[in-house]
């Protein structure tokens, strides 16, 4: 930190520091594992809901045709719990569902540890070295409609700056990194924790925060969609700005 302030370096030749490169790839591998196993877990019950409760006997917000469990219809006749009309019901499942959650879930949580622990270190180091302040958080002077408009036009026409191999970043680049690091990834973690019965017993505000278990699950899926979209755009930008150069910069740091 002291070095970079004393010796004026050309802003587009800073490169990625070693801890940024290391964090980047640990988080990449963890995220891809989380995404893969997350899709497997969703395939077992490809229905999303809002609120506290959701199951095959209650209406879904969204049903995804991503496994043979989609609308499988393998249910015995329903039996009402109570006398009154509109009573909740029970029904026996007769269908042999797709379910690989034995390894799917355990791998998801193993990857979650490999994401959360290095992710927390990344946040702390980024905060204390000034990395976030210098490179990620957009400067107030940058934040004007004109700059936004120019960058949006450039990006939609795929006029992408050639790779510098690290900071400084463009305005939209900073905004998207900021949104991923400080909004989408933390939201994925917190919504994930809100699905744990042991953790919500200890911290009941988590369920109130999301308005219930199934809302948290749906938001957890939403963060996955946002992060996958980010990943796609990120990879396109890497390719358009010089794939070889960018990969070298993020691995060996040259």
């Amino acid at each position: 930190m002291a070095n970079s302030q004393k010796q004026p370096v050309q802003p587009n030749r800073i490169g990625h520091t070693r801890w940024v490169r290391l964090s980047h790839w640990i988080i990449t591998v963890s995220f891809l594992t989380l995404a893969f196993t997350g899709v497997e877990i969703l395939m077992v019950h490809p229905r999303l809901y809002w609120g506290e409760v959701g199951n095959d006997l209650t209406p879904a917000l969204l049903e995804l045709p991503i496994s043979r469990n989609y609308r499988h219809g393998g249910w015995d006749k329903t039996v009402a719990f109570f006398q009154d009309a509109g009573s909740p019901v029970s029904a026996n499942r007769t269908y042999d569902i797709f379910n690989k959650n034995g390894w799917g879930r355990s791998l998801h949580f193993l990857a979650a540890w490999c994401f959360v622990l290095p992710g927390a270190i990344y946040l702390l180091v980024g905060l204390f070295t000034g990395h976030f302040r210098r490179n990620i958080v957009p400067r107030p002077t940058e934040l004007n409609p004109k700059s936004f408009w120019r960058e949006i036009v450039d990006h939609t026409r795929l006029r992408i700056r050639a790779a510098t191999g690290g900071p400084t970043y463009g305005l939209l680049q900073k905004c998207s990194y900021f949104a991923v690091v400080f909004v989408a990834l933390p939201l994925a973690v917190v919504s994930g924790l809100s699905m744990s019965p042991a953790i919500t017993a200890a911290f009941p505000f988590l369920l109130r925060l999301f308005g219930g278990y199934q809302s948290a699950r749906t938001i957890h899926f939403g963060t996955f969609v946002i992060l996958i979209l980010f990943l796609l755009v990120h990879v396109v930008m890497i390719i358009k700005s010089g794939f070889k150069h960018q990969m070298r910069a993020m691995t060996i740091g040259k």
Binding site: I41, L42, V44, H45, R47, E52, V53, G54, N55, D56, L57, T58, W75, D76, T78, V79, F81, F82, P88, V89, S90, A91, N92, R93, I97, N99, N101, G102, W103, R105, S106, L107, F109, L110, W113, M195, S196, P197, A198, I199, T200, A201, A202, P204, L207, Y213, Q214, R217
Partner: protein, 252 residues
Amino acid sequence: MKTKDLITRRNLLIAGVTSVGGLLVSGCSRKLPPTYGNILRMGDTFTYGVHRALLPGESLVKEYSHRDISSFPATGTTNPGDPNHPRPSEIYRNLERGGFADWRLSIEGQVARPGSYSLAELKGFPSRTQITRHICEEGWCAIAEWTGVPLSRVLDAAGILPTARFVSFYSYDDWADCIDMLDALHPQTILAYGMNGRELSIPHGAPVRLRVERQLGYKSMKYLQRIVVRDEFDDGGKSGSIQNGWAWYIGI
């Protein structure tokens, strides 16, 4: 002494490394589930250790009101006596024919007074009714009202010995599983014989099922047959969750 040198980077590193080492060494006992060298099981055990180290042991899960009760699918085994079941239980079928009058839950192992309890005897204990959320590992959840006897009451009556650490459960549909003493003595861990104000139905685990509310649904074993109190971890062999490829601790 200069106060600014109290926490140096080196000291912090040494403290961190030694405390992680301490955790690993204390992990080498039979108070933890075996991992069989499987990295997934190591992750599960790490989660268990972190939960037990950081989360308060006495916290209760949310209890809902009567109007929150929802529809509730019956999955997995829906009748152990059904001849179509992969491992049909003749004994269960006969018990069911007799209205479970001959059903008895045996309590064995590290207890001062091993024995067995009939359904009527279990109902003779002070009961607890709780409206809680059942979360299935598949991703769905449902809310129901459960009535039963707190497991801690039954364990007290049997007199658990001070060395006891785990409670194993065995079911009529040939499952074996166990929970640690913290979950076993938790006030919301009950042996449920009633659901939504009625007798527990066969699809939901008649005559008695376990409720372990701070873990996912598959820990709440249906069709209870036998309880064994143990000093050391027992994985239940081929009938247990671990050897079937599932996490033993699933509070997540």
